[in-house]
Symmetry: C3
Subunit: 138 residues, 3 copies
Amino acid sequence: MVRTAGIELKTKGNADVNDITHQVKEVIRESDLQDGVVTIFTPSSTSGITTIEFESGAISDFQRLFDEIISPKRTYAHNARWGDGNGHSHIRASLLGASLNVPFKNKNLMLGTWQQIIFVDFDIRPRQRHIVLQMVGE
Amino acid sequence: MVRTAGIELKTKGNADVNDITHQVKEVIRESDLQDGVVTIFTPSSTSGITTIEFESGAISDFQRLFDEIISPKRTYAHNARWGDGNGHSHIRASLLGASLNVPFKNKNLMLGTWQQIIFVDFDIRPRQRHIVLQMVGE
Amino acid sequence: MVRTAGIELKTKGNADVNDITHQVKEVIRESDLQDGVVTIFTPSSTSGITTIEFESGAISDFQRLFDEIISPKRTYAHNARWGDGNGHSHIRASLLGASLNVPFKNKNLMLGTWQQIIFVDFDIRPRQRHIVLQMVGE
């Protein structure tokens, strides 16, 4: 069986890290599925999905990595062509990836104790985001 | 239900970025599934799959990132052992990842407006590539 | 149908790269599924999953990348807060990703000839690890 749901999120941009674990759990709880896999997908080219231990230290270390390897302070061919200033946001999103798959069993997400699901908004301004949750299971 | 399909592609190598969105859409359209998830998987250790806004600026910014963090101009232990010159290709592929999952509903891929699915060939010569599309749905 | 299995693994830490291809194949062979997708998921915030050509050269090149872009020799806000010394492990894990999806058909994983599935333990000490394998198929 396939079930589709979504999460709506207001984000702040500039590698804003949002813990969406609770919302994903809620969607699985409210579905009629017991076991399966949830695909968490961002239909956007300036944001990504991964997991992290959601605490302020790890989050700022994570943001520093992207500031270093894909700095906003450089020139980007995307910006030169389109003038929208978010060239680095696109490259960060492509590297991190748009989808994550998490198994669930007896309605429980099989995450680690210190592991949360995060949506990272790399765009350079606040956005209203829609994240797709596609569950396949039984 | 599980449905298997594939995409055949001639690539140029050296971080050649190929937009395969249209082919993935065609495969879903021609299948007997309405809703589900498609796993796009490259059975190769020198290529990867992700999404990007497919325009020449973002593509060249994306290629620059890999030239910088995994440069072809350095020594690689893989090359020293096997003499095949594509050590950097392997590391780039492992970092980017071999699979991407995209949900579809009513036969439509749930991509963002400016988001395309790309196959990136990191090998150092033209290749004939086969990409696996595994659909699970109903 | 959904089937759940797991792999138990003793790891050495510090970007220890473990080939788990054989174990994943075994789990699929022993299941009652013929075709589908296996989600390989690590319920941990200091490890990741990807594919590579599993040979000592490529492995050491892969480890060098992480030493360079996410060095253990720097200061990390996570360490400053929690004093556990594995700040870099967390960031490496978030970048590489906690899940990988591999299609299978007629009980065969659709991997490339030189492509193996690896579990990378980024933590700084030996660990006993459990990896989740969730199969969806028929």
